[in-house]
């Protein structure tokens, strides 16, 4: 199908883009990589009256380090981020999760910030943002504000972003030296959206888990932190028996999305297994970086 008619404006600056969004009174959408928005427009699920193209705004395709934060601008494309040595060093969890994100031509165009604003419930990057305690720097007519990932993802395709705001950058705390990470996913084919994916970060001292941050996507309307699982691991020995039990307990209490393709009970089983595998990987990496 073809998209419904719309007005198109190419914004020259962030301020111009925000002014355009504000003047459209909620009828405008930002066009960045277009890899989620345009399919929805082609299928007429989305029919924005106005598109604000931000692709030519100079100076926002960066991936850089600012102090103890990895900062990614709104025009940084997936492929650029995925192949960045800085990301591999400062956020290895993200680099690993990128192995599961889409395919070359989609990654060439799609942006991280656009992906996060789309807030697909089965997308990998919202889970990575939650596990890493990232913050979203959002700019609107009144100035900018920082929204923690935990408050940014509100519901199904829904974020805390207002209609006159632009997500200008993502700020991810640089991974501490002895933090281990793990990311596991099951989907129909590689590159598809996840049935379930789990992101885990662990710190281990004297054979005890001292910090855990774990998130999952694909199980419900939005990506979630698995707070109960995190708490149950505190002070425990980082071994298979601990992780198996904790992951089973945690997945028993989470409500699951059920559909014709993937029954809720299967998602529950996947969460349990993938959480255990992600935790085992994270523990092994935390211990090997200890040496």
């Amino acid at each position: 199908m073809k998209p419904a008619p719309f007005d198109y404006t190419r914004a020259a600056s962030v301020e111009a883009a925000i002014a355009l969004l504000a003047s459209a009174g909620g009828e405008a959408r930002v066009l960045a990589g277009g890899q989620s928005l345009v399919p929805m427009m082609n299928l007429r699920i989305a029919q924005p009256r106005h598109l604000v193209d931000v692709n030519r705004i100079p100076g926002h395709d960066y991936v850089r380090r600012e102090g103890d934060e990895l900062v990614i601008g709104f025009l940084a494309r997936h492929e650029h981020i995925r192949s960045s040595p800085l990301v591999l060093e400062a956020c290895p969890l993200m680099a690993a999760a990128y192995d599961f994100v889409a395919h070359g031509p989609v990654r060439n165009r799609g942006t991280l910030c656009g992906n996060l604003c789309h807030a697909d419930p089965a997308s990998e990057m919202p889970a990575v943002m939650l596990a890493t305690h990232a913050e979203m720097e959002v700019q609107g007519p009144a100035g900018s504000r920082r929204v923690p990932a935990g408050e940014f993802f509100v519901g199904l395709f829904e974020t805390a972003l207002r209609s006159d705001e632009l997500l200008v950058s993502v700020r991810i705390p640089v991974a501490p030296k002895r933090q281990g990470w793990g990311f596991h996913e099951v989907s129909t084919r590689k590159g598809d959206f996840a049935f379930v994916c789990v992101a885990a970060l662990l710190q281990v001292e004297s054979d005890r888990v001292v910090a855990a941050s774990i998130s999952a996507a694909g199980i419900g309307a939005r990506a979630v932190r698995l707070l109960g699982l995190e708490q149950s691991l505190a002070g425990q020995p980082p071994n298979e028996a601990t992780f198996r039990q904790a992951a089973e307990d945690a997945s028993a209490t989470v409500p699951f999305h059920d559909d014709a393709l993937v029954p809720g009970e299967y998602r529950r089983e996947l969460l349990s297994v993938l959480a255990r595998r992600a935790l085992l990987d994270a523990a092994a990496r935390a211990l090997s970086s200890d040496l």
């Binding site: 008619p5 719309f6 082609n42 598109l51 395919h103 031509p105 989609v106 060439n108 165009r109 590159g191």
Partner: protein
């Protein structure tokens, strides 16, 4: 919703056109530019048949609006070879039976070209990764992979003889 004037480079030649914002690049190439080599399969970014190169990187032309290519360089499958003078990648597809019905072929050729521009000795796994976003409904993947590996060898040989 008025037409917007755009200027761009298409298969190496400077072009300009007037286009309405809602026109997809895939339709623009086929209907306004008269280049039907770019195929439209699913029209929502799943099948990869419409893959072109936008400023040297592969992109779905069905997920790009034609107005967005203003100032850019676009290459379609027509930039490769002609029926009488096939590009080495096209020649390899012919020799290795890398196409059956041919519908997915333009997209396959363009991602193969992007891959081989960056890696002159790709592994089979890298080839499979490169075509992972392109569907062949004849399921002829084995021969497509063989064709791209053969094309890599042809291009390497070509490079050696020109040095």
């Amino acid at each position: 919703m008025k037409p917007i004037e755009i200027a761009f480079t298409l298969n190496g030649k400077p072009r300009s056109a007037e286009v309405r914002p809602r026109v997809l690049l895939s339709d623009f190439l086929r209907h306004q530019m008269g280049l039907p080599g770019t195929h439209v399969g699913c029209e929502h970014g799943v099948c990869g048949s419409c893959t072109i190169l936008l400023d040297g990187r592969s992109a779905r032309s069905c997920l790009t609006f034609a107005v967005q290519i203003d100032g850019s360089e676009v290459e379609t499958v027509e930039s490769l070879g002609t029926a009488s003078a096939l590009h080495p990648i096209q020649k390899a597809f012919q020799e290795e039976h890398g196409l059956q019905c041919g519908f997915c072929t333009p997209g396959m050729l363009m991602v193969a070209r992007e891959l081989l521009e960056h890696h002159d000795t790709p592994s089979e796994e890298e080839v499979r990764e490169a075509i992972a976003g392109n569907l062949c409904r004849c399921t002829g993947y084995q021969n497509i992979v063989a064709a791209i590996l053969s094309a890599a060898a042809k291009l390497r040989a070509e490079k050696e003889t020109t040095v």
